[in-house]
Amino acid sequence: MKLNERSVAHYATCDSPPDKTGFLFKKGERNTAYHRRWFVLKGNMLFYFEERDSREPIGVIVLEGCTVELCESAEEFAFAIKFDCAKARVYKMSAENQAAMESWVKALSRASFDYMRLVVKELERQLEEIQEATGGAFVGLGGQQGRPKSSRRSQVARSRSGASSSSSSSSSSSSSSSAPSMTVPCSAQKSSQDEVPLISGCSRENGVAWTKPPAANGFVEGASCVAWEGSADSGNGIGYGADGVKAPPVPPRRRGASLESPVSPGTGCFSKLHDWYGREVEELRVQWLQSQ
């Protein structure tokens, strides 16, 4: 089977930060000798290099559908990566000390795409619960059908350049570089310490942000309140993006931009994944408890 190997190798060596690196001994496929290799874990890909400064990996292990176990071995600090498919290979590895072994087992156990996806979904769900709990103030904000809030957030998560909401939502980014007036007032209103994002700021000051007269704090805030009021007026609080008539100046949304399950075709698909992963997590938990 072909693979876009050059690009895969590029992923290994490009400047995106790896999740873990270090030396491990890996048992050869044919011969039983263990070879010391430099390992780089990025996402669900475990690359291995001959030397730490090698320019290209010798190989990669795709970490989907595998389990990581401590194993009985003449080698100390040994563990194995096992796959679930027929005639699958078992990758036997050993670390240089107990701490390294535990650290690698932990990192590799959670390296799958499926795991990351599950955690993302869980956080997405939590965020929505929180937003729903804080009331309908969010609902009118840049809404469209489905989940306006998560859509907005996904917009934010996705495009940091240009989108007016983006600079306000993350304190870790340099905010307001492209910020229109929308973002400034909330920051000004909030304590000078945190750069509170526009949306959550409005939620905290729910009543205040909504009811303050536009002219009160001058142009800048006026502009922001007008924008938000626009949304409150036109909808009955339910998000009016559907007809687009009084849409506030939000960034263009992509279809399906919300972080609703990407597994659109068939929920059967997702629940299978979920179940599978649930089992996986359970097994790991047991493993960890036993190894404590």
Binding site: H10, C14, A107, D114, V119, S171, S264
Partner: protein, 158 residues
């Protein structure tokens, strides 16, 4: 570069995010458009001859850019060789849009960024780190300051 092919083939049989028969053209000069069964599973795009069970090939969807070429066609290029385009012909404009969207979301790095965003937001709103209850707050892959690259519109660095 070696890779665990058997396991990758097995992965190609797992439930797919998206699967359809599309036209596909490789990046080399002289490659022609052929009908292929294209399947998106985690961050891999597998492609099969329409009547075969084993994939001809797989594309890892990291460090790549997906673009609409025309109403029904999209392309994938990998950042290390941006001149080489893989072309995919869909059966409708809508289908094309769905594939583009799905592929963009299919990268591990994309998910990581979303996770970090959600984590930060929840923390901001509640004062609590949502990952603490799972005991995974300290994992490298969930760190905010992982130095992720942002700014360009590539799928890879969204």
């Amino acid at each position: 570069m070696r890779f665990n092919e058997k396991e990758l083939v097995s992965l190609s049989r797992q439930p797919a995010e998206m699967a359809a028969e599309l036209g596909m053209r490789g990046p080399k000069k002289g490659d022609v458009m052929k009908r292929r069964l294209v399947k998106l599973v985690v961050n891999f795009l597998f492609y099969f001859r329409t009547d075969e069970d084993e994939p001809i090939g797989a594309l890892l969807l990291e460090q790549c850019r997906v673009e609409r070429e025309d109403k029904q066609t999209f392309s994938i290029v990998f950042l290390d060789e941006a001149e080489r385009k893989y072309l995919f012909e869909c059966n409708s404009e809508e289908q094309c849009g769905e594939w583009i969207d799905s592929i963009i979301k299919a990268s591990y790095e994309f998910m990581r960024k979303n996770l970090i965003f959600y984590r930060t937001e929840i923390h901001r709103l509640t004062g609590k780190d949502p990952l603490e209850q799972y005991g995974i707050s300290d994992e490298t892959r969930f760190q905010v300051s992982n130095g992720l690259h942002l700014g360009s519109r590539d799928a890879s660095s969204l």
